[in-house]
Each structure stands twice: as structure tokens, then as C-alpha cells.
């Protein structure tokens, strides 16, 4: 799980163009949205693209994203649950 989390952090930084953030800056349990990284609705959509691009997981309903993208850890858990880790 930890290896997946580290990999995810790097992918998130790249996909969302978070140029001023390093993987070490991201707390895997901290909320991704809200104050933390200052992500917005477009970033949420980009995370959906990320899941498809790197893990071949398709999310049809953006509303599902809320739970999946709560934190890096919940993202990793979701990916593992889909058997795509």
C-alpha cells in the first residue's frame, strides 16, 4: 500500500501541475480538497482522468469521486479494491 501511495503522490503532482509541491509535502491522510492542496472541481475531474490513464479504472459518475478522492490513502485503497494496484 505504501509503495502505491508514494507512486500516487508523484502522479497527482504531475497530473495536477502542482509545481510547488513535493511528494514529501503531501500527507496521505490529509483531505485533498478543501484547504489542504487547494484543489478545485477541475482537479477532481483530472483525478478521474488519472485513474483511467494509470490504472484503467473508469468513473462514470463524478459524484462517486467525493469518497474516492478524500485523501491519497482512500484513492490507493480504491485502486487496490479494483484489483488494479
Amino acid at each position: 500500500m505504501d509503495a502505491l501511495i508514494e507512486k500516487l503522490k508523484g502522479q497527482i503532482i504531475e497530473q495536477l501541475n502542482l509545481a510547488e509541491i513535493k511528494p514529501a509535502d503531501i500527507n496521505p491522510d490529509a483531505p485533498l480538497f478543501g484547504d489542504g492542496l487547494g484543489l478545485d472541481s477541475i482537479d477532481a475531474l483530472e483525478l478521474i482522468v488519472l485513474l483511467e490513464k494509470y490504472y484503467q479504472i473508469k468513473i462514470k459518475n463524478p459524484a462517486d469521486g467525493k469518497m474516492i478522492f478524500e485523501s491519497v490513502r482512500t484513492m490507493a485503497a480504491f485502486i487496490q479494491s479494483q484489483g488494479k494496484a
Binding site: S41, I42, L45
Partner: protein, 389 residues
């Protein structure tokens, strides 16, 4: 105007009056999603459009064809003589430009270097220039590109230029054709509804894209008197404001929209109670309809006028939208008829606003038309009927 509900204004009026939508499965746009989505497509192929404008040229892309067809109709209908020496301008809007054609050839262009001449017709300004060339307009020609509020800004700019004495008359409006570029883009933003859109409905899921060309002729009073012309309506108020919130989402409090409506009212000298009908932007997306409802209540309080979104008839025609809706607003004023907000069942819980759901006869003097675009660009226009005698 040429749109999903008719190839000219008369046809559109018939469908508007019969509550008949133009949204359905596409025939001409070749997208992988053909069978999954409904869109507001003009019911003519490019070949048929060329027949319509009596001009055949493979160089013309669909945007230009729709634009020429609509602008031709507007000029004819107005009765102006473009050769009488008065200063005439063309202010057109588009977001797609020539992309509808470029995308068909893109693969070959990049991989084989073929069809590069198609790139000549790609620019946003291209369709405007084609229209200008066709009509012979030289005094002032420009292209506005402010997303979904473009045509409203064209109407605003045209009106101002006449007011400032820079032009005697101006053809204003916009055109956008369906393209895979736009369709795929909106799809990644997840704001499309696969089914028929439901503006202002609690269970709305998103918008249906549409295509259209829609133009109006705005003239100075002097120029109108000179030729003993008759105006259908008068532009009495307009305003533009930026929401300054997000590139594609509207602020939950509808601040930009509120300001635009208020300033348009201020300019017109009208009290909110004097607005008889609002043609809403009403795309059917969860975000817009919430934000626009809030803005409407901000301005009108407990006395919200009769309103409807006509996008369930035509689809969201992007840069042409405000032009389409200006034409529909003028038709409403002319015929004292409000065209309904189709496909509505349940009001939005938060606001409880109920739009007009059936074609309604009503004496109308002032109509407010809203258009809100990506980039936070909010525009509102107010039209007044011009009565004979």
C-alpha cells in the same frame, strides 16, 4: 437564425409555438458517442447548407456556412441596403471557428502533411471574414470570443458603437457548429446530459450541446428614419460583469450574474417589476441553474417575473446562444408569447422557482435575456417592444 428548431426564423417560430424541440440524435456529426447522446443539430448537411446559401465551396466549413445563412437572412429581413453608403459593421462571435473541419483532417495533417490548406480556414476570425465577404461589409469587422456570452457582448458592443456615432448600423450575433473538439471537451468536464436536458429542474444532469447561427441588425434611429424602416424592438439596457470565481463554474451566490442584471436594469431606467419575461441562460447544468436562480432572486426578491430557458428547444449553442435567445426574445415581444421551459417537472428544492411550462400568451413590453460564459463572463440584455404609431 438557423438552428435545431428551424432553418430560418419562420420555421423556428412554428416549432417554438408548438413546443417542439430540435434536440435529438445527430445525423451529421461523426462522433463515437453518436448513439449515446442527444444534441441540437441543424437539420441540414454541409452540402444542403451550401444549397441554402447558393454558394458551393469546399473551402467553407460548417461554422461559416451556418453564419452566412443566418447573416443573409438577418440582412434580408431587416430591409437594409448594404450598398447605400451608410457605415455598416459586422460583429460576430464564435468559439469553434474552423475546428469543425480541421478536426476531420487533423490526423492526416499531422502524420502526412496533407490538407494543410484547411488550416487557412481554422482561425476564429475566419467565419466572420467569410460572412463579411459574402455581404460586402468592410467598415468594421471583428470577432468576439468570450465563450457562451459572446453574442450578447456582440450585441452590446454593436449598440455602443452606434451610440458613440462610430457606425450607422451593425450586424451582430454569433455562430458555432457542432464539433468533436467541443463535444469531447464538454464530456471531460462531465457537464453533458446524455438525455434531453432539464433546465431549472431539481433532477437536471447537464446540458445538451447545440449548433446555430443567429444574427440581428441594429440600426441608429437616424439611419432607420432615413429609409423609413421599421424596428421590431429596441435595445434599452445591457451590462457585462466578471464573476471572478472560477474558469468554468459560476459562483454559488451568482455575483457576476446579479451585477450584470442589475446594471442592465440601471442603464434601462427600469424597475425590476417592469420586466415581463426573462429568457434565462438556463443550460441545465447543476451549477448554472443554481447560480442563476440565486442571482434572479437577488435581483427580483419575491417578485420573480415569468421566466424560461429555451435551451431545451435548441441546445446550448455556445457563442451563438445569446444571438439565438435575442431572436427568441424579439419573437416573444412581437407576438406577445412566452415560449416554455420544456422538459420541466420539479422545481429546484433550494429556491422553488417554477418556469413557464406551456406556450403562454401575454402582453410583453420588456424582456431580459441572460448569457453567462466560461471565464466568468456574465452578460445581460434588455429589449423593449417597438409599437407602431
Amino acid at each position: 437564425m438557423i438552428s435545431a428548431i428551424g432553418n430560418n426564423v419562420s420555421e423556428a417560430y412554428v416549432n417554438l409555438s408548438n413546443a417542439k424541440t430540435g434536440i435529438g440524435k445527430v445525423n451529421y456529426l461523426n462522433t463515437r458517442y453518436k448513439d449515446e447522446f442527444v444534441l441540437g443539430e441543424v437539420k441540414l448537411s454541409n452540402e444542403q447548407l451550401m444549397d441554402l446559401i447558393s454558394y458551393h465551396s469546399p473551402a467553407l466549413n460548417r461554422t461559416s456556412l451556418l453564419g452566412i445563412a443566418a447573416a443573409n437572412e438577418a440582412v434580408k429581413h431587416s430591409g437594409i441596403d448594404l450598398k447605400d453608403g451608410l457605415r455598416t459593421g459586422l460583429i460576430s462571435s464564435t468559439t469553434v471557428g474552423g475546428m469543425c473541419k480541421t478536426e476531420l483532417f487533423y490526423g492526416e495533417m499531422v502524420n502526412e502533411g496533407k490538407h494543410l490548406e484547411v488550416l487557412d480556414s481554422h482561425d476564429a476570425g475566419e467565419s466572420t471574414e467569410e460572412i463579411a465577404d459574402h455581404l460586402g461589409i468592410k467598415d468594421f469587422v471583428t470577432t468576439i470570443s468570450t465563450a457562451c456570452s459572446s453574442a450578447a457582448n456582440a450585441i452590446m458592443l454593436g449598440s455602443r458603437m452606434i451610440k458613440h456615432g462610430m457606425l450607422d448600423r451593425v450586424i451582430v450575433g454569433g455562430v458555432d457548429s457542432l464539433s468533436k473538439f467541443t463535444f469531447n471537451g464538454f464530456n471531460t468536464l462531465m457537464i453533458l446530459d446524455k438525455e434531453w436536458c432539464k433546465p431549472f429542474d431539481e433532477n437536471r444532469k447537464g446540458l445538451n450541446l447545440g449548433e446555430a447561427g443567429a444574427y440581428l441588425v441594429i440600426e441608429s434611429e437616424t439611419s432607420l428614419k432615413k429609409r423609413n424602416g421599421k424596428a421590431l424592438a429596441k435595445v434599452v439596457g445591457y451590462a457585462n460583469s466578471n464573476d471572478a470565481y472560477h474558469q468554468t463554474a459560476s459562483s454559488p451566490d451568482g455575483i457576476g450574474a446579479t451585477t450584470a442584471i442589475q446594471q442592465a436594469l440601471k442603464m434601462s431606467g427600469l424597475a425590476p417589476s417592469q420586466i415581463d419575461y426573462i429568457n434565462m441562460h438556463g443550460t441545465g447544468t447543476p451549477n448554472n441553474d443554481q447560480s442563476e436562480s440565486k442571482a434572479t432572486i437577488n435581483v427580483f426578491g419575491n417578485n420573480v417575473p415569468k421566466f424560461s430557458s429555451t435551451k431545451a428547444y435548441t441546445g446550448h449553442t455556445l457563442a451563438a446562444a445569446a444571438g439565438v435567445e435575442a431572436v427568441i426574445s424579439v419573437l416573444s415581444l412581437q407576438h406577445n408569447k412566452i415560449f416554455p421551459n420544456l422538459n420541466f417537472t420539479t422545481p429546484i428544492n433550494e429556491f422553488g422557482l417554477v418556469p413557464v411550462t406551456k406556450v403562454t400568451d401575454q402582453n410583453l413590453n420588456h424582456v431580459l435575456s441572460n448569457s453567462f460564459g466560461f471565464g466568468g463572463n456574465c452578460s445581460s440584455l434588455i429589449f423593449r417592444i417597438v409599437n407602431e404609431g
